[in-house]
Symmetry: C2
Amino acid sequence: MPEEPTQALRFGKARTARSAALLEDYVELIADLLAAHGEARAIDVAKRLGVTHPTAIKSIARLKREGLATARPYRGIFLTEAGRKLADRVRARHRLVVKLLLAVGVPAEAAEADAEGMEHHASEATLKAFARFLARAK
Amino acid sequence: MPEEPTQALRFGKARTARSAALLEDYVELIADLLAAHGEARAIDVAKRLGVTHPTAIKSIARLKREGLATARPYRGIFLTEAGRKLADRVRARHRLVVKLLLAVGVPAEAAEADAEGMEHHASEATLKAFARFLARAK
DNA sequence: AGCGCAATGTAGCCAAAGCTATATTCAAGT
DNA sequence: ACTTGAATATAGCTTTGGCTACATTGCGCT
Ligand SMILES: [Mn+2]
Ligand SMILES: [Mn+2]
Ligand SMILES: [Mn+2]
Ligand SMILES: [Mn+2]
């Protein structure tokens, strides 16, 4: 068993990542919708995430509070500069995690599904290692 | 972008995994403490997880409600048969995820820390692939 | 036996993330 | 211009998982 303080730090990191996961998924999805359709309506975000629209609207309010998004009523959602930055990082990370899973032989649908949760826990060190592995094993 | 219903299913799976994560970490930790010290006191669980003891006690109450643990007051926590089963699965999964991360070149501390969060999102298909990869790349 | 400290437990607060139900607003079609 | 349906917003409830502050219990020592 690991040392107590070490282990507490690890669990703490996992909790932090868990609480950031929701915002990350939202900005990534909003960026995708903006890229694909030129707009991101709350109701589409809700459908894509599989939640009800009040839930989506409440989370989008949190995005606004945290300076990641803006929304003109009945005009859809837009990302701030910070939101776009985050979306870019998150999307790149997502893709890298999926690629790594595929590279070690995980079936495509499982890779996509599991990456949706795992991505939020991949630290910089891990992502670097993934990139090196993929370059080497190419 | 993936199809809407597919994507909603993936996000739903991630949400389910996230909400199971806490219970999984608790039973794994309790099993480790029982193995290492013959008992698992609430306060030690709290210290290891890096939360306050009322938080730990409340979560342990949830474990009891869900039939995973029992506790005689001032006597520490014990796992039910279901709890032990879950702990075994969770521990095996944890180890496998760590091993996979190490095998692709993730530094040890990052592997341990990231696995603490990622493990909860590794599906059966993914775990199987990890095992095959490790056997092959041995 | 009794004291005092540590462990345990309880109460009560908060924010996040889900839901249903209801109200409001917009925009399209007649 | 009206109507009406869909999108958006609000209200209010629940559970989870954090916290602090306080109360109780049990045990080891003297
Ligand atoms: Mn995700
Ligand atoms: Mn993602
Ligand atoms: Mn874990
Ligand atoms: Mn674990």
